[in-house]
Symmetry: C2
Subunit: 274 residues, 2 copies
């Protein structure tokens, strides 16, 4: 599996990916899942990929040469697209090309055509945009209400993103949030692994110098892993335990709750369930 997250904030974009790929538990390898496409001052785009590695590698290869027709004008590529919307259409087209090439043989072998990608960035003259691209080459765009996308093993790390991220979150705080989300995922799932690629893009710069490769020796991520776990336990312990005897509990567990019956209790073999 894989875990990747992309965030679109007012201040910029944050991308984080792990690098574990597995085909069963006995075939685990390290493959990086982040690719940056940059013409400094003109365009800056980042691609994160999850799913079948042969598909996503092929998509990345083809993306470099993929063109979509543009009437009488020059065909559109990711390098000349005037908008991120056109650029993501090129990516969708690359996905469909790989599907044409490999889809029938994969299907015959009983393998799903499974790939999902996060693609975001900025092209001069346009606002930053962030997309989630599906294996049919279609895509959706992040909005103010839903400012992040995840692909791969996304559930373990979703609660903290849900609680923290809004469009006004500062960039470095969002990077921290993505790393905490990754930490929860690493802790609960073997199929996600280090090193991580972290990229933070500041709105309007059309380049990024904030790129970090994070391995198990990285002091900041080590601090997150230790501190977050410890603090979580402290917070957890600071919350009062439920009190069954009622007593003087500030927050009684056994409140009057007339609207629901207790769950069904069966006490003899002859009793019927319903």
């Amino acid at each position: 599996m894989t875990y990747c997250v992309g965030v679109r904030l007012n201040a910029g974009l944050v991308f984080l990916s792990d690098s574990r790929t597995n085909a069963g538990l006995d075939a685990i390898s390290t493959f990086r899942k982040m690719m940056v496409y940059e013409k400094p001052g003109e365009r800056f785009m980042v691609l994160l990929s999850a799913g079948n590695l042969s598909i996503s590698q092929s998509v990345r290869e083809i993306l470099q040469v993929e063109k979509i027709p543009n009437g009488d004008d020059e065909p559109i590529t990711i390098w000349n697209a005037k908008s991120m919307f056109d650029a993501v259409r090129v990516l969708g087209s690359a996905v469909r090309r790989v599907h044409e090439q490999d889809g029938p043989a994969l299907r015959a072998a009983g393998i799903d055509f499974n790939c999902s990608m996060i693609f975001g960035g900025q092209i001069a003259g346009e606002a930053m945009r962030l997309f989630l691209v599906y294996s049919a080459g279609n895509f959706i765009e992040a909005t103010r209400e839903t400012c992040f996308f995840q692909v791969g093993e996304s559930k373990y790390g979703k609660p903290i993103l849900d609680r923290v991220l809004t469009p006004t979150t500062p960039l470095d705080e969002a990077a921290k949030c993505a790393l905490v989300s990754m930490d929860s995922t690493l802790k609960s799932n073997l199929s996600v692994g280090l090193p991580l690629d972290l990229l933070v893009y500041e709105e309007g710069t059309l380049k990024s110098e904030r790129i970090a490769v994070i391995d198990e020796h990285n002091p900041y991520f080590k601090m997150i892993r230790t501190t977050w776990g410890e603090r979580l336990r402290e917070v957890f312990e600071a919350i009062e335990d439920p009190r069954w005897d009622g007593g003087d509990a500030a927050h009684p567990l056994l409140a009057e709750s007339a609207r629901f019956e207790p769950m069904r209790k069966i006490t003899t073999p002859d009793e019927r369930i319903v």
Copy 2:
């Protein structure tokens, strides 16, 4: 979907289940997923179920009358089983009976025979035991190393269980942990919903009086939902943000990391990926 968790501690057992069932987003209903089988002083068993509701309802119905052969002796039922191991075999047999009855028609309709259950309790003379039962009627048992099982929409709520639960966790703390885990799941997933059924069983008692039906007005769960989210944010904010300029950061993000190359950056259309 559903989310249920069962925990086996030295001090006893904790069971928590939600009550949302959905067949698509426009067919959401409330069905309770906890069933208690109790002969006070002799046996106390709890069943939590997830998966296809028609299957789990049928299993519960059949479980009341299911018998497995026992040589020349009286067949074994959940009401006369001398061990939890025998009782869970009866449950596995009930699952297989439903599979015989409904499996072919479900398969013909393209529907998976999908059910998973947590079954635990204590029979006089034996230690407490906790099992996870699969849709083939086979099962595994919780151990000291893995002291909880989850069924249904389990990933959102797994990190906190991983971090907190050990066999020595006190009962009420484990109940609190299960409720926090449920809170994370409720926050991130629409297909899990209130009311909750919470049951805490104390080792050796062979009955339980600690049963709570928790709806949105429950003072304790309301406190958990507010406090946990707030404290999580506070802890999150108290952790230092990553510093890109290095400077005097206690935990620099950009440490020397000689072992890995930064991710691939492509800057011209002609550049090859590999």
